[in-house]
Symmetry: C2
Subunit: 430 residues, 2 copies
């Protein structure tokens, strides 16, 4: 058999496996959509117990994955994300229990009203159906994403990074055991049974109408590939190019604290600030104290000429700095002409994710909050609050910057859709 | 110049025109998003006045379009949809005034709550941005769709059927005059400046990120093309294969009235019933009276063997009848085994649009309402109520059967998205 023929044969085998997986997901989704909340919660607790009970097996599989990843020369950051420890496994189990504790959105009446003809109209939350999750080699996402989908009544098709395949497989078995123990369909949580990338392409095309939405979890290149290739809707953000704008009417202490927290609390998350905009009108008083605090916290600053004229420790920024998501201890700094200058800069360079204004002037604040077209806009609070948990929405599967369906943190409610239930007494339409 | 070179040159010209139109839309959308409700309403009233004032011009342009359409051999139904009369022009003006009377969703706080750390979180409705509408040669859609988009703060890019181009152009001028008179950007409502189909393809690809959503309005082939080719989200339904299920516990009079109304009130709308399902357990008592009423109303019935055994006037149904949207005075009829038989048939053949159960048994009703996965499910009411106006949502731009963002009638609220506005007092994240 030629190489091409062998490849074709392998592709057909993957396509057949994916079609079967899709059909099983669809069937499981229909069943899961009707499951009562307490049964789903019992399954989540059973999953947590199974994860704890499988600690040795998870660690053994993880050791395999780690050996292979090290042999493949993966970076230490990559290895760290892939590594599980007894503590991290316990955290995973606790995460499952926390999801059990969240309110179940399915069946909730989002709105209801009566019509003059006596019809009663209800908008009721129902699961979306089948959700595909594509993520990097972080085995904890297997538990987290699978559980969030299940709790919201959706079937999940998981496709994690190939380097975490063995670890994720053992975790998956725990999740499925928890489902089965409670009479729920195990196929409500499935993993793509191959590390071949062709399977990802098939998922992105929707498996013949089976996949309702794709959620990518990972870095920019993963999200970009998913957004480019997906033929079904995607809940995602490509990057978090978040801005902190310090207005002339800002309290200096507050501005400094927010700037340092927004940038430095955790530099690797999407809500971390990447650009600091300072009102030219207060630059002489506000820039240096804020720069002092950032530099003291270990941050490199890259600024425009105006900023550098006020503080020689600031390195020169290049045009590309305004559109760079550093995810590191670096921040770009630009002087702008008041709130409109800030709004203009964010319109040109922002990523529609999260942006903040620090000011005591409510007029300026409202202008910023209204005109900046981002999923999250904040007044006098750190951009690092951009998180479903911090919003009080419970666990989130990600943050979306698209405008349709889910914008901002994607929690359980955003993983549902609505249907209209209309109750009458024989009404016909005149 | 060769034919191919000439075609290329023309395509480049269209691409350039569409890019310019897209950029103008985007700019107009930003401005329109900030327009107060009373200014938008004043513009709608000015549009209505302009439409009334332009009656002669609209009728003249319409006469041109009609001559060309007749010469091209279009059907009489097509000609009817294209035809405007003074009455229809007045109805169009009244439609614009009715949209002015609807509440403005923009700026509404959909939800708000406080966090333990003092953060105040608001979910505020904002316009989506730029909406592309692709429709057939029905000039009234120009006014209707343009106005709904504008009222919800969105810029509209309209592309109607080429046979209505002249008529729509005059109507468009009225809409733009209404915008300009009120200081709003005229480019908030634009029409694709060519009847070349290549422009439609460009719209469907999103004009380089400009078009946020496409709404097709028209028959199945138009919607199918849009759904196939669009690379941006689409709010639409491909067809309305609506079912009326008459349960054994149905009141016969009610079942008969609902069946006749659901099928025959207007046969050409998406909420018209196409298939009648009758519980085998009541077929002997219920089938014939319902068939009598349908036949008396001028309806042809195509049934399965069980139905035909009970009523010889029923023609034989073929397999394809169960998946045919007749949009005509024809209904298919099948005997099913109780509510689960009905649910199964709808899962196999339905189009996720609107389905109804007639029964006095609330248990059966709830089973149907919960398990039928359609945008709208009704108990004891006609499927012809599937309409934004009948739901009390005001005018609708269409009905969506997709599950994301907008499901069911797409009114003003569904043409908005949300952003999170967070107000703090200097909070940083621990």
């Amino acid at each position: 058999m030629s190489v091409a023929a062998a490849e074709n044969r392998e592709l057909s085998a993957i396509a057949a496996a994916m079609a079967g997986l899709g059909a099983a997901s669809r069937a499981a989704a229909r069943e899961l959509a009707l499951a009562p909340g307490d049964v789903k919660n019992a399954a989540l607790h059973a999953m947590a117990k199974a994860v704890r009970g499988a600690e040795a097996g998870i660690l053994a599989a993880n050791a395999h994955d780690l050996d292979a990843a090290r042999a493949a020369g993966q970076t230490s950051a990559f290895i760290d994300r892939l590594t599980l420890t007894p503590d991290r496994i316990e955290a995973m189990a606790q995460g499952l229990e926390a999801i059990a504790g969240l309110p179940d959105p399915v069946g909730e009446t989002a709105a209801s009203w009566d019509r003059p003809n006596g019809l009663r109209i209800e908008r009721v939350r129902v699961p979306i159906g089948v959700i595909g999750i594509i993520y990097e080699s972080r085995p904890n996402v297997t538990a987290d994403a699978g559980a969030l989908c299940m709790k919201s009544g959706n079937a999940a098709i998981l496709r994690g990074g190939s380097d975490s395949y063995e670890t994720s497989s053992v975790i998956l078995a725990c999740l499925r055991a928890g489902l089965e123990e409670n009479g729920l369909p195990a196929d409500a949580i499935q993993m793509v049974p191959t590390t071949d990338r062709a399977a990802v392409g098939m998922m992105l095309k929707g498996l013949d109408g089976t996949v309702d939405v794709i959620v990518p979890r990972g870095g920019k290149s993963l999200v970009a590939r998913v957004q480019d290739e997906a033929r079904v809707p995607v809940f995602a953000h490509l990057e978090g190019l978040c801005h902190v704008y310090v207005d002339a009417a800002a309290d200096l202490d507050m501005a400094r604290d927010i700037a340092v927290n927004a940038k430095m609390r955790r530099t690797g998350i999407c809500g971390a600030a990447e650009t600091l905009l300072i009102d030219r009108a207060c630059a002489e008083t506000h820039l240096q104290p804020i720069a002092d605090a950032l530099i003291a916290a270990g941050c490199e600053i890259r600024g425009d000429d105006g900023a550098r004229a006020l503080d020689t420790r600031i390195a020169p920024a290049r045009e590309e700095d305004w559109s760079t998501e550093y995810l590191d201890s670096i921040i770009s700094l630009k002087l702008v002409d008041g709130v409109d200058g800030a709004i203009g800069h964010i319109a040109d360079y922002g990523s529609d994710h999260t942006d903040c204004i620090v000011t005591d002037d409510n007029g300026a604040a409202n202008r910023f909050l209204t005109r900046v077209d981002s999923a999250i806009v904040l007044h006098n609070a750190s951009t690092q609050f951009a998180d479903g948990g911090e919003f009080g929405m419970g666990a989130e599967i990600g943050i979306a910057t698209g405008k349709l369906h889910a914008r901002g943190p994607v929690g359980l409610e955003q993983l549902t859709t609505c249907k209209y239930v209309v109750r009458g007494a024989g009404q016909t339409r005149p």
